[in-house]
Amino acid sequence: MIVFALRRFLGFAATLLVAAAVIFWLLDLLPGDPAQFILGINATPESVERLRVQLGLDVPAHQRFFDWIWGMLGGDFGLSYTQRAPVGELIWNRLGVTLPLALLAMLVSVLVGLPVGILAARRRGKALDTAVMLLAQTGIAIPGFWFGMLLTLLFAVTLRWLPTGGFIPWQEDPAAAMRGLILPGLALALPQASILARVMRTALVDVTGQDYIRTARAKGMTMGEAVWRHGVRNALLPVLTILGLQFAFLIAGTIIVENVFYLPGLGRLIFTAISERDLVLVRGATMILVVAITATMLLTDLTYALVDPRLRQGSGA
């Protein structure tokens, strides 16, 4: 297990280094000049040139790359071009929205998706299965921004139970902050829960055909007991894969929901930064996301190995 973990950890570090190089190179290719963007269409070329020098854009690319890596090792992500504030701080503030939101959405999708999936698998082919799966199908099929808006219309505009969006910082009013995350959390959770339900059902239906279930049944267990004791545990493998993927998605992929609910999340920060050519901010934030996602996947893999000990030897050999 230790060897396995070590190997994975080395891979983790290697991934990060290559990722840093790719991010830097990709961003340097982007057309558009940050200085010109800041100063707009009426600025003189001289003003733009002066700003380029101030932003350090006149320094050769390779030197900027090493400065960046070196800075990050010391925890310094640089200063945002457009916002003139430390990138680390900007990102940290956004994580206060994005992380709770992602966790909330995960929680809701697991709490709803897994039981529904198990239920549907148990009642396979029955009316309940059909109804639940149809619902799940619809849940996957609705574009997020559309669903988010329908939620707002119902709960915020008509019923006025919850705000239409926005975010009150935690330190100011935790209850208000939480209220602000409910609708976006639901909007994010719906498709995730639907996917989870489907995957759980598929996985369970798969294992019910396996020999060990039949053996268990032969030993006198009811189908329910057999599925619960043996099936769910085995079905957890694909479900874990999906959960890892979902968390990775939720941490960065919530731009659309953030837009609909005007939340100050990480996704929107990066999106704006890309369009404003705030390269320092984009690469810092992307790098942090890469670290977060890679770490999540490392954890998923380690959990995999714990759930199914056979995998350790497989990868460790």
Binding site: R7, T15, P143, W146, F249, I270
Partner: protein
Amino acid sequence: MRRFLAHPSLMVGLCGALAFLLLGLTSLVWTPFPIDQIDIGRRFLGPSAEHWLGTDNLGRDMASLVMAGTWTSFLVAAIAVFIGMGIGVPLGLAAVIWGGAVEWLVLRLSDFIFAFPAVIVAILITTLAGPGSINAIVAIGIFNIPVFARVARGGALSIAKLDFVAAARLTGLGNAMIAWRHLLPNIMSLLIVQGTIQMSLGILSEAGLSYIALGTQAPDTSLGLMLREAQGMFLVHPWLTLVPGSAIVLIVMALNLAGDGLRDAIDPRLRQSRSNVLA
């Protein structure tokens, strides 16, 4: 064929998906009106004999737009899935069957692609190459690769340890053949389910990219772009969002139903287990 017919959801899904596909294909040769024909004077018309689904904010014929938009959405998602499957599945299977360094490499590669937040990279790619459907395909397709690689590996891992694979190895079957004959068929159901999920996600991703103005660009159209353009007017002209919105929901549902049905229909183990139940 009989066993396909025995699955009502499969038939509904397949027929639905095919109907939309046909609609999209038709738009290549014929639409009731040219989709770039703008006439401000006739905008916001309701459905009528002339304009079956009414007209949009620029006076374009909605039925024509839906047809053309369906085609774009299909095309984007399908190509993206093919990119993902074509590269991802062989990688995943190779990882399981060869193990060791190959597995390490495949995992690193898949981790590596995965390590990048998909939406961010999609935005970067579309920023780099200019917004549009082709770039959306590439951006969505790249991220389908590790999805399929991991699902293929995850599914094949548990099967590779089963007795019949070891037995096949004893009979002298090569690695590639084992992967082809024993692993692939056994993870097919997982792949198909994942394929339909990715297909529907592809259509939705295109819509999402369109929402942040990086997907399909006017004067081309896609269902996502139509929905996005009409979103602001939702309370004034709800019809304009309902049409493309329902089209997306229906297509995605049809695809998923078809996928689920196919899965039930072609998985030999499942058929067997069902006959057991019946017996």
